[in-house]
Symmetry: D3
Subunit: 334 residues, 6 copies
Amino acid sequence: MGQIITFGEVLMRISPRGNKKFVQSNIVEFYFGGTELNVGISISNFGIKVKHISAVSDDFIGDTAMTYIRKFGVDTSCIVKSKRPLGVYFLEVGAVIRPSMISYNRSHSAFSEIEPTKVNWENALEDGEWMHWTGITPALSQGAFNVLKDGLKLARQKGMAVSADPTYRSGLWKYGQNPKEALVELLHYSTIFIGGVNEINEVLGTEFGYSNDDFIAASKQLIEEFPTIEKVFDKIRTSVNSSWHKIRARMWNSIEFRETEDIDITHVVDRIGTGDAFAAGLIYGLQKYDDYKAMEFASAACALKHTYEGDVNFATVDEVNNIIAGNITGRLMR
Amino acid sequence: MGQIITFGEVLMRISPRGNKKFVQSNIVEFYFGGTELNVGISISNFGIKVKHISAVSDDFIGDTAMTYIRKFGVDTSCIVKSKRPLGVYFLEVGAVIRPSMISYNRSHSAFSEIEPTKVNWENALEDGEWMHWTGITPALSQGAFNVLKDGLKLARQKGMAVSADPTYRSGLWKYGQNPKEALVELLHYSTIFIGGVNEINEVLGTEFGYSNDDFIAASKQLIEEFPTIEKVFDKIRTSVNSSWHKIRARMWNSIEFRETEDIDITHVVDRIGTGDAFAAGLIYGLQKYDDYKAMEFASAACALKHTYEGDVNFATVDEVNNIIAGNITGRLMR
Amino acid sequence: MGQIITFGEVLMRISPRGNKKFVQSNIVEFYFGGTELNVGISISNFGIKVKHISAVSDDFIGDTAMTYIRKFGVDTSCIVKSKRPLGVYFLEVGAVIRPSMISYNRSHSAFSEIEPTKVNWENALEDGEWMHWTGITPALSQGAFNVLKDGLKLARQKGMAVSADPTYRSGLWKYGQNPKEALVELLHYSTIFIGGVNEINEVLGTEFGYSNDDFIAASKQLIEEFPTIEKVFDKIRTSVNSSWHKIRARMWNSIEFRETEDIDITHVVDRIGTGDAFAAGLIYGLQKYDDYKAMEFASAACALKHTYEGDVNFATVDEVNNIIAGNITGRLMR
Amino acid sequence: MGQIITFGEVLMRISPRGNKKFVQSNIVEFYFGGTELNVGISISNFGIKVKHISAVSDDFIGDTAMTYIRKFGVDTSCIVKSKRPLGVYFLEVGAVIRPSMISYNRSHSAFSEIEPTKVNWENALEDGEWMHWTGITPALSQGAFNVLKDGLKLARQKGMAVSADPTYRSGLWKYGQNPKEALVELLHYSTIFIGGVNEINEVLGTEFGYSNDDFIAASKQLIEEFPTIEKVFDKIRTSVNSSWHKIRARMWNSIEFRETEDIDITHVVDRIGTGDAFAAGLIYGLQKYDDYKAMEFASAACALKHTYEGDVNFATVDEVNNIIAGNITGRLMR
Amino acid sequence: MGQIITFGEVLMRISPRGNKKFVQSNIVEFYFGGTELNVGISISNFGIKVKHISAVSDDFIGDTAMTYIRKFGVDTSCIVKSKRPLGVYFLEVGAVIRPSMISYNRSHSAFSEIEPTKVNWENALEDGEWMHWTGITPALSQGAFNVLKDGLKLARQKGMAVSADPTYRSGLWKYGQNPKEALVELLHYSTIFIGGVNEINEVLGTEFGYSNDDFIAASKQLIEEFPTIEKVFDKIRTSVNSSWHKIRARMWNSIEFRETEDIDITHVVDRIGTGDAFAAGLIYGLQKYDDYKAMEFASAACALKHTYEGDVNFATVDEVNNIIAGNITGRLMR
Amino acid sequence: MGQIITFGEVLMRISPRGNKKFVQSNIVEFYFGGTELNVGISISNFGIKVKHISAVSDDFIGDTAMTYIRKFGVDTSCIVKSKRPLGVYFLEVGAVIRPSMISYNRSHSAFSEIEPTKVNWENALEDGEWMHWTGITPALSQGAFNVLKDGLKLARQKGMAVSADPTYRSGLWKYGQNPKEALVELLHYSTIFIGGVNEINEVLGTEFGYSNDDFIAASKQLIEEFPTIEKVFDKIRTSVNSSWHKIRARMWNSIEFRETEDIDITHVVDRIGTGDAFAAGLIYGLQKYDDYKAMEFASAACALKHTYEGDVNFATVDEVNNIIAGNITGRLMR
């Protein structure tokens, strides 16, 4: 089987331990993340070859990011070095009724200043079988949008599957591009849609509600307007509070509607990257299982991610399938 | 607007990380606290000027305490230096059915040996608009009691509001003063009573129960005997166990009885200082809002404090009002 | 009162902090543990004299283990030094639906290579009143099995009580001995059986179910086949998930069946050693209280252990009895 | 006495513990620094009023920076908030023959985008007696250069002393301004020159050597070309390696040449900010002592800074004078 | 061989890591110490039975101190519990030219309030062979002085050796007793004097200098005035700075004068407790070796202590003798 | 250029922070190491392709080791998984006159039980250009010896260079093989000898001294008896104490004798793996430079390694050459 290709910014994530604020302790921990990289690492942890394409700073921070990606077995050969610093995000992890807060330092980062001349897509996609993109990348800069578009175009020419997670984040999109137009253009290169009614409403300009019926109607209209898209998968999070979530999923695959049961996450360890874990689970599952099982796998992967600190989902295929098999009482494994 | 004045002991708080006991790890963390200081810092975090009056040791520990108070923007210009060491408290944080435990080393501390000659109240209250005191201070030493009484007397002469949190802690009061008599004397200088039927019974010698009717009756009798007091606010904690609490509040403001809904704190991070956060919220709220909104604000501030480690409530006014507005699902803020 | 004697392997336990995996952080914490040592330390924390018998490595790791045992007041005078390294276990603590995982490095450890000539049981049992063993020890090596058998034989000759926790762990038993035969032989030296229907089925070759009726029937048959055994105590764990357990217990003491109420542990800190805390509570309780109170004590001790990190139960007798008295709301103790 | 005014960027400094590299540990520590802020904090630690003027990010990182500055008693009332992130620098601390390495992320920071309209210098310099600037600020951006020039102009109009540390760092100056011209322009507003022959050669375009004679000749020529400058102070570092330095100083005050003895720093803890400690010592000393004693004070302050981790010099006036008095054997103080 | 008896205060030592100040980090480490306890633990690490007599707080801090002492195998059976808190000392570790600083919180500690009725000396000295005291204990309180005097009296009656380290610390002695008189009285119960000309001058009221001749003359006069004293041992520290010391020793044993070579400690890890390590080495050495070898052993033990963090000397007899044998190049031991 | 092949055990290294002993802190750090792996990682850090061949445990510890090796870009595709645990070594880092101590737990490790059937050398050496071995591997087990011999045989058949570091460690060699015979056999497959007179004497049975003349004579005799060997490189360490070393090197390359100057390492951070850094520097240097420059490069690489914590040399080619160019004053690099 070929490689999964992910393209997106690598960010350094810095946060105090536990639920502390920066003002409380000058000892902090860092990981690396970024929504597309998170997807890539999670898929690599499932045992599949992944190549991540990005730009990092040409200093010891960029070098450290490279070692981080490499340790998960992800191919870093197409990551370029830049004179600009690596993007950073600072995180304060909330608890119960207190929300987690993130502050970004990414707007002139190594990745934001990427340009089409920096990425040789022919080379990068050589063994590619599937490419994944999200709505974060085109929101960062004209260069990032252009590079992504070039990559998707070639991926479709090569007949690769393309999964889209067109999350719209209003705090980005500062460089002048119209978000809806950009996402619409990129969705025309996509075959799998990962998102719910919010994302569909965003790109269609519709106002569907959250019911299953609305989800089905929205999905149908989406598929009608974007004929390359065949399937829509929606992860649904129910939050008691910052520390207690439930996760389920639903799908419309042009044939049938299905949904999974809630998985109850009574003590959330870290919710960052859980959506990425869902996408990774789906990309893996759709290559190994039928659509419903793929969604179950994605849903369980997403739930498991809530138990790991950091952006990365460490779960293996066996560990995810163990959850699907109902082994959720956390019995000690010796 | 004028300054809020708080007067009380500054303690160094030392505790192992997480739920560890001292016997388990020789690495510990310290903060500074003390019930009245906690109130002062929390109000300063709400953006209002606060001056804290106290005595600290004249060594690098006292200096560190000063920098700690200063970093929250609290005025330290009236804190005096003493040859005695700073008081310390050691804390082991419990979990679930295991209670947290505190051991104090404060009985001959810098603050306990304070004397009326050390504090220039005229100077200290120059810009004062509100003074807050608790039942801890008069319980520590004759000197602390005397200094507090002097301050309250002048505060009332200047027409300042005075809030009282007359918590009775039986482990203190070692220096000979009769607790009830002392609290009664000090309450005659107070205008807001922060406490429930336990505290009212203590000062009135009554035996009211915990029902709302009893609370109203108790409040009325309190106000009758202490005519300067206009309003009574009571925070009610329901504990599932050490790790799971619920907070609500009720009030009698001489006009009407009101109570708030429980806020469910399913994963308590740190309960120390939550009562102080309630008092701080009330002092802020009563200056900005009507009585009921003030109580709601206090209740939400108290609930939020359970999510911060240490004695200090870091919540801002916006964050507290966000809880009142019902945003309690802890959605990530970017 | 005489000493309680425990015999078994001392393991170094190494784990990352919180819910991290080894791949996430190169900073880890260690404790020492081992099922029989855990029982011994817990009983010592109850204020009763305990001697632990074992073999540790003759290096700074073995020395550190010795200081660890000694700090809890357990007599280490019969622990022998060996040229082999101390056994180690690595632990990754799970959360919610993710199970904790353990990896052992013990198969050629100092303890596994123990031989009857190394332990002078006459000397070791001189002041012994009660001896405790578990199914782990005979599973480790022929030497360990032989030494244990020698000890039990002498203990019974001296009229000591013998409690057995014949846990069967299939991952061990690599040296050729038939598990069932070994456990049966050792049970013939025992007077108290700590275990449930699984353990009874294992040694009797029966297939009893989990109902109370089945438990009573199983216990009766066990006592019939092992006439030295008088009482059977069974701890029952109900797991919502890795982070949320409930603990209760039931017993058949040849006279009556009794069971306790569930104690709800909504936020598990560490479940390792909770079974050992139950056994320790029982051994203490059976010497101080009637059978039912002993079981209540064991059950509360077990529940409390879930709130301490590491293998050791730090609870004192007062703290355990406080739980039995219903003080489970974790009120702060000053 | 009036305030000392410092103006410059506040940077977050992030570094692994000890001599580790980022690739070795994901646990790091942060402080805040920046050359002019370091000077300001050090002077505040000498007990003199200081106001720092800067721009920080309007998020929890900027808030944390504010609390950090405030805890040292430095006036933060003229620090403005910006939509841009705070500048960051990453540091790997070398040892022996391995140099320390710094990587900056500051080029589009809150401070770099400062504009003259943001700083009300009339207000900021109200109580100002002395203003300090360095060659870093004009190197950052046109805005920073302009704001600094406005401030210096007004400072001189008000008759304030102005100390200049015109360090030339070639890695900066990216925005188009000619470094020499900019420094020359700013030096015309300065009265004290802190720097050696390198800095003098840079602004004069000369090629003086390092001998004392050359230093004197260079100083004389500098003073001739910049008539507002009266005195030149030069700190001289002799490095055995990264971990072993010696510090001395020399001066030309238009009247005489003097130099101090080397202070031997056999075990460097942290050399960042030691030049700033020299400047701070000088600014303090020149107000309290004669020129030679001021240089001795600066030199001892600089030497002491090598023993503190972070950018900040914690030494008090007594501690610095203790060094000058020859108490350098580090005898324990109880 | 009998027990070595030590009597003195147990203090909790709290310090930031490395060379940090308390103002720099809220993460600190604690150990337990106290000059006489340090001596006791060091001797126990040499494999000799030691009993320490003291008073500790009756709370979880006192309990933790007990476990700390017990882990080194020191007999704690005569340590009494007190309602007063345990004494604490805060330490900031200096470097190079910066001195370490200590701040004490001990003046109303558990030990300071000890009384003769609390210690049963008959019982405590039952197996005693040697008792050690220092000038700290009589300086703390009348009670401590009295209890010590009782103990020494009985020790001499039983014919035990008594070593005295009559350090005079002027910051103590607050309770009214005349230091010289007290030390003189206690020295009359002593047989070994550990101290130099400073200590001798203090008790004799003389003014001897530091030369060897003066040391010999001072020792002779001391022995003349205190006929029970037979030998005087003096440890000499030469400090390059806080981080670089040299240690040697000299003695007058009524027969001959001897001195050792300097041991060069180029990178001091922790100098606290190094004098105690010398005393412990001497007490051990005088029982095992001739006087000169004993002094060599003490000197090497003292030097080794500089390489361990905390108050405790962890060196074994073999490790100390290894230094004496000249193996000081620190070759890796596998 | 082809791959460098290293073959040897991967060990988990566990040590307390700084100079602490295990008995002082239960917080420890781990890295992975092993002499041949250290060589491989260092060469990979020089930018050359490396493949390491080994056996690790089939559990989360083995997985973590794999990620550790992978993050340095070393090819792990020929590392096999084993049912046995990974070897562990515990390290206490000494200081000054206190030696560091190591305790191993490796005798039944995953690597020790390797067998010739587990390693497909044809596959492993496919792109191999150079193979490196040390005297540790044949000392571990018959299997390890056999696998190594197979590999060396094939390497020579393929015309690869083979460097030998035939360190003889007497604590190993427990499985029956005669060390000298084994080393002699393996040396017959080697082309570069890394070692001094000790190692030469060991394999020749000679008694050469340490002078340069003896070194030359020994090298000549070695080359005579092992005609495949062309060059001998000897690293010379001079230790002031544990914390202060000097490093130089000498060589006999069958043509000339050369030696380098001492590099003074006044503050050793970590000496583990410094010999491996020398070997790695040599292997790199001999491919890029002439023999003398290669030795200089090796010597400087070795010296730099003393400044990094852990087993790994992080130095890049530029950093090593910077040392050779005389830039050893550790000037800050921005």
